[in-house]
């Protein structure tokens, strides 16, 4: 069983070395900018930034393509719908279908924007380990602590959840195999029957997960974990001059894209 979520691609590149907080802010700025202004020129700027980032990161294109795969259908749908239903003089007519240049432009723009959006976010997840990502989000959401939002605890929860996804996948795989060995079939029958076939998988999975959660909580307490207590980190986040440079550069590009 393979995971479909975009995974971290470990490598020593300038992009990998950036502070995760810097990367989160930069990508967020790009994404917001992308939606603030709809022009091909702005799109080109953001697209170039994303492509430059990708090339610098040295992540193989295959990994990026794999990350894009889940949105392929959305892309096709967006393109086709816009192409068919956008108003404007037709340049090609086939029966009831009117294809207009305006429609083609809108379809192209929307699809490309989606691609740039996904590539920019992939750039973040492919070059940042999940733990660093949650650390960055915890740091960035620190102002919320004033509103008594337990940001540290939430970040820890996310980290633990991420940590156990592969374990859970492994367990689901084993339990499904074991029930198949007892004659269960997960592909037979209609949707209702298939849903019911999952009961022998889900019940043991939940029981195991609860048991593991209990054990993990005990183990954490035994190692003196105290919710709300200030925590230090094994790898504290350090911002360098390069992070500042990248942020200034991204800010400049966003302003440029919004102005042209």
């Amino acid at each position: 069983m393979r995971m479909a979520i975009a995974q971290y691609y470990p490598r020593a590149s300038p992009i990998h070395r950036l502070d995760p907080r810097c990367k989160v802010v930069a990508v967020a700025a790009l994404v917001v900018g992308l939606f603030l202004r709809s022009s091909f020129a702005a799109l080109a700027v953001y697209g170039l930034v994303a492509v430059a980032g990708l090339l610098l990161s040295g992540v193989p294109l295959g990994w990026v393509a794999r990350g894009l795969r889940p949105v392929v259908w959305l892309l096709v749908l967006t393109f086709v719908v816009q192409l068919l239903f956008a108003p404007g003089p037709a340049f090609y007519t086939l029966g009831p279908l009117h294809l207009s240049l305006r429609g083609l432009a809108i379809a192209g723009y929307l699809s490309l924007r989606l691609v740039v959006l996904v590539v920019a976010s992939l750039l973040l997840t492919l070059t940042t380990p999940p733990i660093a990502l949650t650390d960055a989000l915890a740091w960035l959401s620190r102002p919320l602590r004033r509103l008594r939002v337990p940001t540290e605890e939430l970040a820890l929860m996310v980290t633990i959840a991420l940590r156990f996804i592969p374990t859970l996948m492994q367990e689901i795989d084993t339990i499904m195999k074991a029930q198949r060995a007892r004659g269960a079939s997960f592909t037979r029958g209609g949707p209702l029957r298939r849903a019911r076939a999952l009961v022998p998988v889900l019940v043991p999975l939940f029981i195991l997960s609860f048991r593991r959660a209990d054990e993990l909580a005990l183990a954490m307490e035994a190692r003196c974990y105290l919710p709300g207590a200030p925590r230090t980190r094994l790898h504290p986040l350090h911002a360098h001059r390069r992070d500042a440079v990248v942020l200034v550069l991204v800010a400049a590009l966003v302003v440029l894209a919004e102005l042209i």
Partner: protein, 297 residues
């Protein structure tokens, strides 16, 4: 299907009460050039490489090997839960896709490592009945199979049938999971580390049950690194290391580098080790002790 049905009727009719597990047609299995790789992202890891193996009907074979040697993978290939990348599995001489293969494959019982992890029903009876119901047996046949399977693992249906599986002890849960496989009336039973994390009493119970099953003529494959129990239960051994069969056949023991168990991160059975040490001690004994031993004999 006809052989199965005939057995079922015999057990339900004039057969000896409570011994529905006897008289099952034992399956013979052969692997030819079996290879299997696990995909780990960009790399492929060989779990088995060119495994040739013959399991005669009713034979009890220990599948020994260090952790990661491919034991579990081999069991799952035999049961058809994984498809081989190379080679094939023959059951009673039939290859996959041939008439009668699937029905025979279903009669290979596989008890996973820590099988109590798969218990899910509200009562022991229902959990054991899961397999037989999936096979589409009639209510009477299911009932019969469940009762005899529960009896075979020492959890009589009248006392344990209505209990919740998670109210049982660890050892009882393991036996219940075994009953779930036995209820499908297997002609060959594959067990993946059946003794792991059981207390000594539960291990003894389970060992006695497996001995009883062997006596009914059921074939056993015991994948384990518990060499002591394997030696006690099985007639032959297959030693697997890094996905390759490095030794197969009846038990035999050599010294140091010559013994497949010792040279592949396993150990000699305790009795063998004891015997060997006694022999060495006797050879080195002072003459008066040797004389005394002779006089006593």
């Amino acid at each position: 299907m006809s052989g199965d049905a005939a057995n079922g009727h015999a057990a339900g009719g004039g057969g000896p009460a409570g011994e529905g597990l006897e008289g099952q047609h034992a399956l013979g299995v052969r692997c030819e050039g079996l290879s299997f790789w696990y995909d780990e992202g960009a790399t492929r890891i060989a779990a088995l490489r060119g495994v040739d193996l013959t399991l005669a009907p009713g034979a009890s074979v220990a599948l020994l090997g260090p952790t990661g040697s491919g034991k579990s993978t081999l069991l799952q290939l035999l049961r058809g839960l994984l498809a081989p990348d190379e080679g094939r599995v023959l059951i009673d001489g039939l290859a996959a896709g041939e008439d009668g293969y699937e029905e025979r494959e279903r009669r290979i019982g596989l008890v996973f490592q820590m099988p109590e992890m798969q218990l899910f029903a509200a009562t022991c009876r229902d959990d054991v009945a899961f397999g037989p119901r999936q096979l589409g047996w009639s209510a009477a046949e299911v009932d019969d199979a469940v009762t005899s399977a529960l009896a075979a693992v020492g959890l009589p249906a009248d006392r344990f049938g209505a209990r919740h599986p998670y109210s049982l002890s660890g050892g009882e849960q393991r036996r219940l999971a075994l009953a779930g496989v036995l209820a499908m009336r297997p002609g060959l039973l594959l067990l993946d580390e059946p003794f792991v994390s059981l207390d000594p009493a539960s291990r003894r119970d389970l060992e006695a049950i497996l001995r009883g099953l062997r006596a009914t003529g059921m074939g056993l494959v015991l994948a384990t690194h518990d060499v002591d129990r394997a030696y006690g239960l099985c007639d032959a051994r297959v030693v697997l290391d890094e996905g390759v069969v490095v030794d197969a056949g009846p038990w035999r023991f050599g010294a140091g580098g010559e013994d497949a168990l010792l040279s592949h991160r396993l150990k000699l059975p305790f009795v063998v080790e004891l015997w060997r040490r006694l022999g060495r001690a006797a050879a080195e004994a002072p003459p008066e002790l040797a004389a005394a031993a002779e006089a006593l004999a």
